[in-house]
């Protein structure tokens, strides 16, 4: 494996709220190689978006990246460098594509101005050069008549076009890493297919690494080479994409795959994961998934599982790795036995 482009080690991002300390990201470690596309998946509240924002140090109080966290990039720890050096990284070396292109773009500036501004901020050219670069970038992302489109405002463009503009903005400085946070979630499926194709093409062309954050396992299957699954602020499984879909180890990953209806699949009853994601202010003791897990036994309620090595490049945070014979003993999770599926384990407060 080549020297990683990005190395995240024991990242912890906590929010000090009135209802307690929310440990949204709690000891996350992973690496991204140059030119690699990595998927970060999980449901609402698992910490995937906070992880992304932490990489760019966009966490505002009451949130804070805890000391001891390391984000090594270009030989520097992004957690500890000063704000001025961080600004040189943001948008130039690491950039971000957000979910909602309408809110990511400023409605009162033309799209050309907004892309050119990125170039100007990083002092990479005169006004004229920045504008030319913006137009060229619009062409690269497949916007027809880019010279005219550059003079238009975001509201004049369709949703798919806007997302292309956001991608142009993210790529104009030719960054080494693009973090794409649910880049196609707000788009229709035919437009999603266009945008995913565009991202794949651009990656080939520029050799950019991509961290693709999504809840959609279909998108992951088609777009990435390696997958990191998060639950409860932690990485619970990591594997090459084929390995993950063919031989998921963690019961949460297994549950996610089973819960997803798929085109072409027999119409059986969908598998469900009972209960809901616990609030980050009160992760359960032991394994954070144990009260929703069909395999859990007493050990799971008390002993926090480490990331066990399952195979080459495949890790899973589940004691089943230690006691594989337990996989045969599937049962109803204790907490929901009394009230039926879908009832919350503990508090009912939506976080």
């Amino acid at each position: 494996m080549p020297e990683p482009l990005l190395r995240v080690h024991d990242l912890r991002t906590y929010f000090y709220t009135e209802s307690g300390v929310a440990r949204s990201v709690d000891g996350v470690s992973f690496e991204i190689a140059p030119g690699e596309t990595v998927g970060l998946v999980g449901e609402s509240g698992c910490g995937k978006s906070v992880t992304a924002l932490s990489l760019l140090r966009l966490i505002r109080p009451p949130g804070r990246i805890e000391s001891g966290s390391e984000i090594t990039f270009d030989g520097k720890n992004l957690v500890t460098i000063d704000e001025k050096s961080m600004r040189a990284v943001r948008g130039a070396r690491i950039s971000m594509v957000f979910q909602e292109p309408m809110t990511a773009l400023n409605p009162v500036f033309t799209v050309g101005d907004q892309i050119a501004e990125v170039v100007r901020i990083h002092g990479a050219g005169s006004k004229r050069e920045a504008w030319d670069r913006a137009v060229k970038m619009l062409e690269t992302v497949g916007i027809p008549a880019p010279a005219q489109r550059a003079n238009e405002y975001p509201h004049q463009l369709s949703g798919g076009m806007r997302q292309r503009v956001v991608i142009a903005m993210a790529l104009v400085m030719n960054p080494a890493l693009v973090i794409a946070d649910e880049p196609t979630t707000a788009l229709d499926v035919t437009i999603q297919a266009q945008i995913l194709e565009l991202l794949a093409d651009l990656q080939k062309q520029f050799g950019t690494s991509i961290l693709l954050i999504t809840h959609d396992l279909g998108v992951v299957a088609e777009s990435v080479s390696r997958v990191i699954v998060m639950y409860g602020g932690e990485v619970v499984e990591e594997a090459a994409v084929r390995e993950l879909f063919a031989a998921a180890h963690h019961p949460y990953t297994e549950g996610l795959l089973g819960a997803m209806p798929q085109v072409g699949q027999e119409r059986e009853r969908l598998a469900t994961i009972p209960g809901t994601v616990p609030p980050p202010t009160a992760w359960p003791a032991g394994c954070r998934f144990h009260d929703r897990c069909p395999y859990a036994w007493d050990r799971c309620a008390t002993e926090h599982p480490p990331l066990y090595q399952i195979g080459s490049g495949h890790v899973s945070r589940c004691h089943l790795a230690d006691e594989p014979q337990r996989r045969a003993e599937k049962h109803e999770p204790l907490v929901v036995a009394a009230t039926g599926e879908g009832n919350p384990g503990r508090g009912t407060r939506a976080s």
């Binding site: 449901e43 609402s44 369709s158 949703g159 798919g160 076009m161 229709d188 499926v189 035919t190 437009i191 999603q192 297919a193 266009q194 995913l196 194709e197 809840h215 959609d216 396992l217 279909g218 998108v219 992951v220 299957a221 088609e222 994409v241 084929r242 879909f245 063919a246 998921a248 297994e254 549950g255 996610l256 795959l257 089973g258 819960a259 997803m260 209806p261 798929q262 085109v263 072409g264 699949q265 119409r267 009853r269 969908l270 598998a271 469900t272 994961i273 009972p274 809901t276 994601v277 009230t339 039926g340 599926e341 879908g342 009832n343 919350p344 009912t348 407060r349 939506a350």
Partner: protein, 368 residues
């Protein structure tokens, strides 16, 4: 599964029968709001829903699927067309008569955060319908609410809590309990699971299927997620720019889509199996504006049917039955009642020819 099984009660009369439904939203210009055209949100839509059946209504943003659902609920007044429910034309009813009929026609909305009144307890939200329709009062209403909460998998003691205390999936269950309270026979479900996480979405889909089985409910299931619709619907109607372009049993539609738009739409759905290599029919460009839809077949500017020709830009394709129960609006997919002589007269150069791009993956998608 045979076609006869997927269209239950095909011999009985439909519960809901929509004919030539149209909604044009006027575009106003200038100080005095002079009409300057219209957005043809829904442009002549017809379909039936049988008792106990789930009809899926799919399409991309702006295709008119939600407007169709809202017209059936009379939340939007149709410009033209009829909506017959149990033999009664809803369009002709006054507000008072319509209110009485709302007991039979209920709705589940997409956003579980804005569709529940934040100032009302869960109990009073569910009880409201019981009171309005004089179904139950006092302690009888209370025990009915308890029973409903139990049916949707929530604890009875939740009735004194407020919506903000619940997660998205739980709120959607509350919305379902509210719809069920008045014992409807038909529910319009407008993107009921789109806002939910995958695992919670599966819980709600299973619940909706259980309730349908137990109560014989009919659903109009409006959604943009094609895999969810395939899972829940008996028949599926595909909309594009205000028109139904294909309507078939779920099995037929997903196995052999005939309308080139449906083919492209299905092939765009990502498959959660990295081992499958897909042959994708990639659509270029965006959906045209419904204020100025293309002439002839509304899909013709983006269509990839090899026989596409000038006739497609002239002739409006009728929704025709190309195979038993399989309705398609395309003059280039044989058989068609739009004769070759008519097509030639309209500038046609390519006779109709079967086009079936391979879009379904080989091998079974990975399901655990």
């Amino acid at each position: 599964m045979s076609a006869a099984m997927t269209i239950p009660h095909a011999s009985t009369s439909p519960l809901l029968s929509v004919h030539g439904l149209v909604k044009h939203f006027p575009i106003k210009k200038g100080l005095f709001g002079k009409p300057a055209g219209a957005v043809r949100a829904v442009d002549g839509v017809s379909f039936d829903v049988m008792p106990g059946e789930t009809l899926g209504l799919v399409g991309e943003s702006g295709c008119g699927k939600s407007t169709t659902g809202r017209m059936i609920l009379r939340l939007i007044e149709p410009t033209a067309g009829s909506i017959e429910f149990d033999g009664i034309d809803l369009v002709k009813l006054d507000n008072k008569q319509m209110r009485r009929l709302r007991r039979k026609i209920q709705v589940i909305f997409q956003d579980p955060f804005s569709s529940l009144n934040p100032r009302m307890t869960v109990g009073s939200i569910i009880r409201e319908g019981l009171t309005i329709h004089h179904i139950a009062e006092g302690s009888a209403a209370d025990s009915r609410v308890r029973q409903l909460l139990d049916e949707v998998g929530l604890r009875a003691e939740y009735m004194s809590r407020y919506p903000h205390e619940f997660s998205g999936g739980q709120r959607q269950r509350i919305g379902i309990a509210r719809a069920l309270a008045v014992e409807p026979t038909f529910i319009v479900c407008d993107e009921p699971v789109s806002a939910l996480d995958v695992s919670v979405q599966a819980q709600v889909i299973n619940l909706m299927q259980d309730l349908q089985r137990d109560r014989g409910l009919a659903y109009l299931f409006i959604a943009h997620d094609l895999s969810v619709v395939e899972h829940i619907a008996d028949r599926v109607a595909v909309m594009y720019l205000g028109k139904i372009v294909e309507l078939a049993s779920s099995d037929d539609l997903y196995r052999e889509p005939l309308m080139p738009y449906t083919q492209a739409l299905l092939s765009a759905v990502p498959i959660a199996d990295p081992a499958v290599k897909k042959n994708r029919v990639m659509l270029r460009g965006d959906v045209p504006s419904p204020a100025n839809p293309p002439s002839g077949c509304v899909f013709h500017p983006r269509c990839q049917h090899p026989a596409k020709d000038a006739a497609c830009a002239v002739l409006v394709p009728p929704l025709e039955e190309k195979a038993p129960g399989h309705w398609v609006a395309c003059i280039k997919q044989p058989p068609t009642g739009v004769d070759w002589s008519i097509q030639k007269a309209a500038g046609g150069t390519n006779p109709p020819a079967r086009y079936l791009p391979v879009i379904t993956p080989n091998g079974t998608p990975n399901g655990v």
